[in-house]
């Protein structure tokens, strides 16, 4: 397995001139689960959108030992499962089945494989009975889990999630955390949910103003109230 993320000196400026990333360097080791925290507007989502080439900034990005370049985009998108914050943006197909099948179909897999993958992805998130449902009718917690299934069906080596627990009630949040714990893959998760960070991630990266300002063992960072306060974060 080469599921490693390497970001080197990444710079990005939005078309309106706002500079969102100032030389970000980040390495996530294979199998590592890393939390990405920081205030709104710190550049977390911008960074995540670079990991499978949706946004293209200056700098080097290597994912699963592939250089991020036009020629590799297809392979990189198959290797990195990116789950967007708002499931209504992620679930765009008429039915749950169609949405989960979207990735595998576009990878050109044969029909039987697509069906098997949809089945196992929905089973992994505990939503097998929802395959013929219409996404609009689901609760936000259900939509979040289906959104994760839509990338699991692509069998990515790396899972990148943008604020997975935002807007969930405690029970849906607990279900989601348990799901993330079970998934055995490299994971980079942006979040404001510090209790989830403490519970789930060995390593935490703090971003502010488009820069990585701290990175280290979650237990160490979260035990430093001065550091947390300086970057507008708080524990419990």
């Amino acid at each position: 397995m080469h599921h490693k993320i390497e970001v080197e000196n990444l710079e990005f400026t939005y078309p309106d001139g706002r500079k969102a990333l100032h030389g970000v360097t980040l390495i996530v080791q294979p199998g590592e689960k890393v939390a990405l925290v920081g205030p709104n507007g710190a550049g977390k989502s911008t960074l995540l959108l670079h990991l499978n080439g949706i946004l293209r900034g200056q700098g080097t990005i290597r994912v699963a030992h592939l250089e991020l370049a036009e020629a590799n985009l297809g392979k990189i998108r198959a290797a990195v499962g990116l789950v967007f914050q708002n499931p209504d943006d992620q679930l765009f197909s008429p039915t749950v089945f169609d949405d989960v099948a979207f990735g595998p179909l576009h990878m050109g897999l044969p029909e039987a494989t697509v069906r098997a993958r949809v089945q196992s992805a929905l089973t992994a998130v505990g939503m097998q009975e929802y395959r013929d449902r219409i996404s609009h009718h689901l609760s936000i917690g259900e939509k979040k889990r289906i959104a994760i299934a839509t990338v699991l069906s692509m069998e990515p080596e790396i899972l990148v999630l943008d604020e997975p627990t935002a807007g969930l009630d405690p029970r849906a949040r607990r279900t989601l955390i348990n799901l993330l714990r079970q998934l055995d893959m490299t994971m980079l998760v942006s979040t404001h949910d510090m209790r989830m960070v403490a519970e789930l991630f060995e390593r935490t990266v703090i971003m502010e103003d488009g820069r990585i300002v701290a990175s280290g063992a979650t237990a160490t960072l979260l035990a430093d109230p001065v550091l947390l306060e300086r970057h507008g974060l708080e524990m419990f």
Binding site: F84, F92, S93, P94, A101, F102, H106, I134, S135, H136
Partner: protein, 262 residues
Amino acid sequence: MHIHLHDQYQQAQTLVHGLDARVKVILTVLFILTVSLTPFGAFGAYIALFALIMAVALLARIEPMYLLKRSVVALPFALAAVTLPFTVPGQTLLTLPIFGGLTVSAEGVIRFVSILIKSWLSLQMAIILVTVTAFPAILWALRALRIPPPLIAIVSLMYRYLFVLFDEAMRLLRARAARSATQAGIRSGGSLAWRGQVAGRMAGSLMLRSFERSERIYNAMLARGYQGQLLGLEHGHLTSRDVVAAAIMVALLTLILLLSRI
């Protein structure tokens, strides 16, 4: 805070529900084609076509009243033909004492009534189609029938997001209502121009939000490998039941059409 998609689809296990979606779409189009090919004033044919609709509805266990109620929406569109009684030349039925004597011709009235009935018949069959076929199945059928993919993509995304946008609009309206307070003794609500401006900005804001959402959706599609075309799995094979149902329907439609033309 959530508008439910009131799908017209009614789940049931009937012969009509079980037919292949492609067959149902084609037969519906053929039916509408037959309706439009019958000559004006062929009332016997209209009755036969209506009987056919009722027979299909009966087989599909659709309440006739449901069908009649829903098909009333066609009436306003038929108003486009309202000038026909006055413009088609023919035997004068009566002269209205307006505009210096407006004549109503018998041919014109027959033509108008025929158009009214035809649009109403066509719509009823279309309503049956969406009542007995789940929307995703219709989309799949259209794809299988080689309708241009961009059109199908538009319909598919519209089906998914129409009500998301509706929710968004509801939130905007609610936010306005929550801040539209009145105070005793002071005239509230502002001028008409000002209120118009507020409404205009809300519409603009809804458009901007939809535009931004469309970019996020497109990103989500790209992230999962989208390359410009929505793909779908083939499902469903034609069974002998489909063939028999199609043959019966086509035979009946041809018969009605021929009889109405002699």
